[in-house]
């Protein structure tokens, strides 16, 4: 397999900074706003998402390219992916519970939330499409990297958000803005700052 290093770096930069899942692509917003109140839970959720995203992007890629495409049933993509992801999360949960109770305690409560998290489904669907940089379908390695990096990008945004929200607990937010609205304003300002990464390219 020949690995296009430049493409991998570009995918990584794009997934973490330029097209950050949360701040630019609008994926995974429900957990982003739901689990960012405390830094500790944000880290836990982030880790769980990175893990599941990585595994999910590998498995869905394999299924898509070795099952759906050859048999020309790629229109079943949505059904198959969601089933794979749902059972994957179940499997991960059960395995963790059995073999690593510590990790299960840390990530366990976040896992069920992940099933209906569009970030996971999103990365699977994106990986089934075309690479923005080469206009070719994603290779296995590329989709793997895309999965990990998208998870890291999600976690980065989540952790930054949690830090800020913990600080906002101490601020005097005007009453109509308290709760979700100020969280959206915060996310908006974060997204503005992340615009600074737009057009970032280490290989021009």
């Amino acid at each position: 397999m020949n690995i296009d290093f430049i493409s991998l770096v570009q995918i990584s930069i794009a997934a973490v900074f330029i097209n950050n899942f949360v701040l630019s692509r609008f994926l995974g917003l429900c957990p982003f706003f739901g689990v960012s109140k405390k830094l500790s839970s944000a880290v836990g959720m982030g880790m769980a998402v990175i893990f599941v995203m990585t595994v999910a992007s590998m498995i869905t890629w394999i299924i898509f390219h070795y099952l759906l495409v050859p048999y020309e049933v790629d229109y079943l993509r949505t059904i198959v992916f969601i089933l794979v992801i749902a059972s994957l999360v179940q499997l991960v949960e059960m395995t963790l519970q059995k073999f690593s109770p510590v990790l299960y305690d840390a990530l366990g409560i976040y896992l069920p939330l992940i099933t209906t998290n569009c970030a996971i489904m999103g990365v699977a669907v994106l990986n089934a499409g075309k690479n923005d940089f080469t206009q070719e379908p994603y290779s296995f390695i590329e989709s793997l990297v895309n999965g990990i990096m998208s998870g890291i990008g999600f976690t980065l945004a989540l952790v930054l958000m949690a830090g800020i929200r913990e600080k906002l607990e101490l601020a005097n937010i005007p009453r109509p803005l308290q709760g979700l609205p100020i969280a959206f304003v915060t996310a908006g300002l974060m997204a503005i700052a992340f615009l600074g990464f737009s057009g970032l390219n280490f290989f021009k």
Binding site: L23, S24, R25, F26, L27, G28, L29, C30, F33, Y75, L76, R77, T78, I79, F81, I82, L83, A86, S87, T115, T116, N117, C118, I120, M121, G122, V125, L126, G129, R175, P176, L177, Q178, G179, L180, P181, I182, A183, F184, V185, A187, G188, L189, A191, I192, F194, L195
Partner: protein, 199 residues
């Protein structure tokens, strides 16, 4: 009764603006009214259809495989929507992008299947699907109208104000967040005012 149901779906339990569910499609496709309405209709279609099927077959589905079954049913209708859009509304399909397949994970739909359709009869489930879908669609349209007008000075792709210079940020990601924050804050403000007046 219908009136109360409508009020519930659109105002009291608005999926996006009150329950904060299904935020991703709400923000991602509300850059123009066309997209917002398209997404709203697609989601409503899936919502109603899956509610119908689930309330019909709820008796035969064993408790333990309930969720996977719902997911499969929802995914089926999503695929139908996907194929239909591709065939007859290619433009819209391009605009909505990956958010069409993502309807499948939309928290609103699975949430309604689980919380409502699996416990209620056909008629009520249809109504529930309809009002919730309406609430979803209306919220999307509100966001979309604000963003399209402010962000590109257009509505349904047509210019609105002569001499107004649109603020592009509103059709970019940050503007999505600001718009929903603003709408939610307004809702809070009026609700708090009402509560304040009552007490």
């Amino acid at each position: 009764m219908i009136k109360e149901e409508l009020k519930r779906g659109i105002i009291a339990e608005n999926p996006i603006l009150v329950l904060a569910l299904g935020l991703c499609p709400a923000l991602a496709v509300s850059t123009s009214l066309q997209n917002g309405l398209g997404m709203g209709c697609a989601a409503t279609f899936v919502l109603i259809c899956s509610n119908i099927i689930i309330s019909l077959i709820k008796k035969w589905i064993p408790e333990k495989v309930r969720i996977p079954c719902y997911i499969v049913i929802i995914a089926t209708f999503v695929t139908i929507v996907e194929l239909t859009l591709k065939a007859y509304f290619p433009e819209l399909n391009n605009q909505l992008g990956i958010f069409v397949p993502l309807i499948v994970v939309n928290c609103v739909i699975l949430g309604r299947a689980e919380a409502f359709a699996s416990k209620n009869n056909l008629g009520r489930s249809i109504i529930d699907g309809f009002v919730m879908g309406l609430g979803f669609t209306l919220a999307l349209c509100i966001l979309a109208i604000i963003r399209e007008v402010l962000g590109s000075n257009k509505l349904w792709g047509l210019k609105v104000f002569p001499g107004f210079r649109p603020m592009t940020i509103f059709i970019l990601a940050p503007g999505g967040f600001f718009t929903i924050a603003f709408v939610m804050a307004m809702i809070n403000y009026f609700r708090q005012k009402k509560e304040g007046g009552q007490s």
